[in-house]
Symmetry: C2
Amino acid sequence: MPEDSIARPLPRRSRPVQVADRIKDWVVERDLKTGARLPSEAEMIAQFGVSKGTVREAMRILEAQGLIITRTGPGGGSFVGEVTAERAKSLLANYFYFQQLSITDIYQMRKMLEPELAASMAGRLERWQLDELRELATRHDRPAQSPEEERDQHVTSLRFHERLAEFAGNPLLGFCVSFMARILADLTVYRRLYEPHNEELWARGRQHQIDLVAALERGDAGAARATMRSHMEGAEEMMQRQEAQVMRRFMGSP
Amino acid sequence: MPEDSIARPLPRRSRPVQVADRIKDWVVERDLKTGARLPSEAEMIAQFGVSKGTVREAMRILEAQGLIITRTGPGGGSFVGEVTAERAKSLLANYFYFQQLSITDIYQMRKMLEPELAASMAGRLERWQLDELRELATRHDRPAQSPEEERDQHVTSLRFHERLAEFAGNPLLGFCVSFMARILADLTVYRRLYEPHNEELWARGRQHQIDLVAALERGDAGAARATMRSHMEGAEEMMQRQEAQVMRRFMGSP
DNA sequence: TAAGATTTGTTCGTATGTATC
DNA sequence: GGATACATACGAACAAATCTT
């Protein structure tokens, strides 16, 4: 790491940030679990020797990161709050707001992850999991008739990949796949006018998912990998043709 | 997701959060770039009809996400601030604090990404990039003599992978690899007493990195892939033997 | 160097809103 | 419905940082 110890007087940390950091430490030291109660506003004011406003700003900092939640009323106060996947995705999306991802970037990654993921799961799924995937793969049985319907089908298709990743039981992998799905679901599609809708590509994509479930069921890792790879290539081609553009907007706070 | 449309009146958004959201919208609508100036506290108070405390809480929310920075004094105020990779990693690490990643999880992902990454970069690196990688690969020329030295070598090794990913020019891939490196660099190693240090594994790992650079230089994608795969397997084995544990702590705000 | 201007940072007192009993 | 306990919000004053002259 190039800059581990910097000489410059690193920008003074404001008091709310200091308080927020101390509360984080407090939680980690005591190994407080989700839902555990934090000291009340008044107690923190006394504990840290700061004013109400400062404590409140510190709480908003922690709340924005998803680390705490607060409730009003008797029995209210601040509580340790598990960071949800939704929130983590939003926060991470803010980073890529400034990075301008291309379709190529996203699919380079998908092509690395998803075929291997599929192969690793051949023969390892429960019946209900296979059923759920099959339902998603076959939910739409005709090409989209309207932009709304098309969008709906796209989201369902992404949902298929998200669920598959979740079934892997690897939280890191699940998050990454799910994050890519989220970005892809949110992007803006500017359809070329002279390229209305490629039904053949659509049908191939649908069949790929159906074949994939079958390969997973019979435990054929090689077929699962190959099918997923074709599917990724087809999906990328469709996105490229439609001149899909990765969105530039902040995610709303969940 | 089980609960997509909930009936309950979803928890009222506090005023600071509302203000923060409106400022986000303001920035996106006007397509303000990094460094652009936001209205002053006083202007926001007038604009939104809220008190100073509320505006300040809103600013802390945005600041915690890395979206703005504020400075005091004349010419000071709030400015659009690009979310840094460091901050994004910290925020994401908070999510995995609650997820308990295992070494197996992380390496399943590394084994999917890094061999393909290496293959895709064969013959595509500039001389200075190859030189930098070579320097990282050869920096340490003897097995670690102390825990500190070992840690140092581990970090350098991870830095090798991080740089390689950055050279790919794919921000998504670069971030993921870099994030895994960060987690691995931060984890706690409980060395088994009867397994002091496997010098043979260490030497193999070092040689792998050297061979990899050579393969990249001569444009041999197959060799690059194979070498990286072996390297990943060796690294995983070393981590497993050392009973490395993924850390459980919040990251400090950068 | 010093003084003044500008903008955020922090405090305090008070009042309001909200959930529980 | 009323009392209670908590967070939420407001407004005015003062402190600190930093730029200009």
